[in-house]
Symmetry: C2
């Protein structure tokens, strides 16, 4: 039975295992520094579908399918699925996961969704609620651009602080196996709003949320940054990552080389035109499931603090002059079973 | 520790108690048959705010505040909150619940959200993950109309099968008390899509989901409709409710007088111009938290199967010719502690 230790932190008693994981990405992600890590790369942004939204549903199906087949599992083995995405009405998940017969929890955590879904899947698995639970999320550059900003064809200019929504999906399947990596603890964040109103600077809006959640986690776990091989934020990008380092520096804490950001890892900012870095639910999901979890399985990383951040920005409320609420959840993944 | 019994059903071992509940509604809901049940009725649809979206955030804050004060609790007593709504990016929750310091899980289950949030809050409470957990959701007629259909001022005609989105919010707070009502079991549905494409007939899209989830629940709980004082669907409205009765009749099961629908209870269809009935996340939330839970506390109802249904329809994908995926989750609430 999981143990709750105040301020959103839940310690796993049985250390649920990440038994399988899968990814699917677009061409640009396939051409990035982590390109060779992904299970499926499609050269065409439409993934064989007639619209961007349907393409994103397909992406999610592909990542789920890869996670199932790599784990030797079928849909009927999955007892609960936690899924979400950036589309209005979370359509990539709602349409992509229909008719697969899996009990479904729809989530909205913007780009924090991979950590939110992983946290819930871990808590269910740790308490024996279902044999296998799945966490899946996605984003698609073209569906996100036309929903949040302008249709692709418009050719709008992007500001230097803006990030590039990844065309990517990742899925992790959890269960009570004795096989690394394991989920050791999760910290569920609360909504932080520091008054940032620039919808093209989501890194700045999200950095304070990542800072708040990480601080809660360190306090609850009696740990410090030095206890982790890697502290990995979701998609703060260049601007948000620097802000996060600054926020910790004000407390006299240096995040150092063990800190990185999925938005800075997925693309090569020198060669790929992504401005402040990658973003989108699929960014952290694909980096986690394509790059981090395999390295943990190989023993190259032993303790990772995966901290996905979400800007809970509403397009309507931003137009009404409102600021951007943000949230971050963190998941401590370990290669050590502690037994 | 909760017990999982396949097909999405989780049986609570410790029977978490619904320790408090609160509601806030608009004028039309206040003038309906259940008007006297609600904690807060505002004559003005803007709830003192400058936009419909901000009004909906305010609604959610009011319901949460009522639940807290009636339970003698403060925000700092709530360890986890599960919240969602119909707005794009779940903005009523994301903006309404910011800066309250409560660890936050954002959900999207369309009109099924009250059952989804209640199911997760119950599972957390049953497993001792947090002392108090809250489930809250809302909808607002004006914010929903302009997002899903037309702005209010347009004066669009409504079809006979269309439903009226309730301006309402409900919040339930769960904890490990020994005080009725209790949550006994939940059944988490999967996404069902029977090919309905008429976005003005969501009752028809959702009825098969309610049928599927209820059947799973009866099988897992070894129960039949006769075991419940009330089987309550979320907002199938007149069309969907009749379809649900028909679906069960085909199995030789008569739902009978113990079946009702929140969408048919919130408004008086004879006197109020709501066509097929009420809908929206707030409809089932307000009927549950304003009418049903108080009756259970008084002992007037002993076993209620609360089954909220959601049309996971995307406005974009419906325009692309897609059908409407639907989902239903059910929560068995009991007045008996079984001890």
């Amino acid at each position: 039975m999981s143990v709750y230790t105040k301020n959103g932190t839940v310690i796993m008693e049985n250390l649920p295992s990440v038994v399988s994981f899968g990814t699917a990405v677009g061409r640009m992600e396939g051409e990035g520094p982590l390109g060779s890590c992904f299970d499926y790369v499609d050269d065409s942004p439409d993934f064989g579908e007639s619209t961007w939204e349907k393409a994103e549903s397909r992406l999610q199906q592909l990542a789920f399918g890869q996670a199932l087949s790599k784990g030797g599992l079928s849909e009927s083995d999955i007892d609960f699925m936690f899924a979400g995405d950036l589309l209005n009405q979370c359509a990539a998940s709602g349409y992509g996961m229909r008719d697969n017969g899996v009990s479904f929890f729809g989530l909205y955590g913007a780009c924090s969704t991979m950590a939110e879904s992983l946290a819930l899947a871990a808590i269910f698995a740790d308490n024996g609620i279902g044999q296998y639970t799945a966490a899946v999320t996605s984003s698609h550059f073209c569906s996100a651009e036309r929903q949040f900003r302008f249709p692709e064809n418009y050719g709008g200019q992007r500001t230097p602080t803006s990030q590039w929504t990844a065309t990517a999906s990742g899925c992790a399947i959890l269960g009570a196996h004795y096989e690394a990596p394991y989920i050791k603890a999760v910290t569920v964040g609360n909504i932080t709003d520091m008054g940032i109103k620039d919808a093209n600077n989501m890194g700045a809006a999200m950095a304070p949320a990542a800072y708040a959640t990480l601080k809660c986690h360190f306090a609850a776990a009696h740990s410090s940054p030095a206890d982790y091989d890697l502290i990995l934020t979701g998609d703060l990008g260049y601007v948000g990552s620097e802000l996060l380092r600054d926020l910790f520096l004000q407390d006299g804490i240096t995040l150092g080389d063990s800190y990185n950001d999925c938005g800075l890892m997925l693309f090569d900012r020198e060669k790929q035109d992504v401005h402040a870095g990658g973003s989108g639910c699929g960014c952290s999901a694909a980096v986690l499931c394509g790059h981090i979890l395999p390295r943990m399985r190989k023993g190259e990383l032993r303790n990772v603090l995966f901290t996905a951040t979400g800007a809970l920005m509403s397009t309507t409320l931003v137009q009404q002059g409102e600021s951007i609420p943000a949230i971050a959840h963190c998941v401590h993944i370990t290669a050590s079973d502690g037994r």
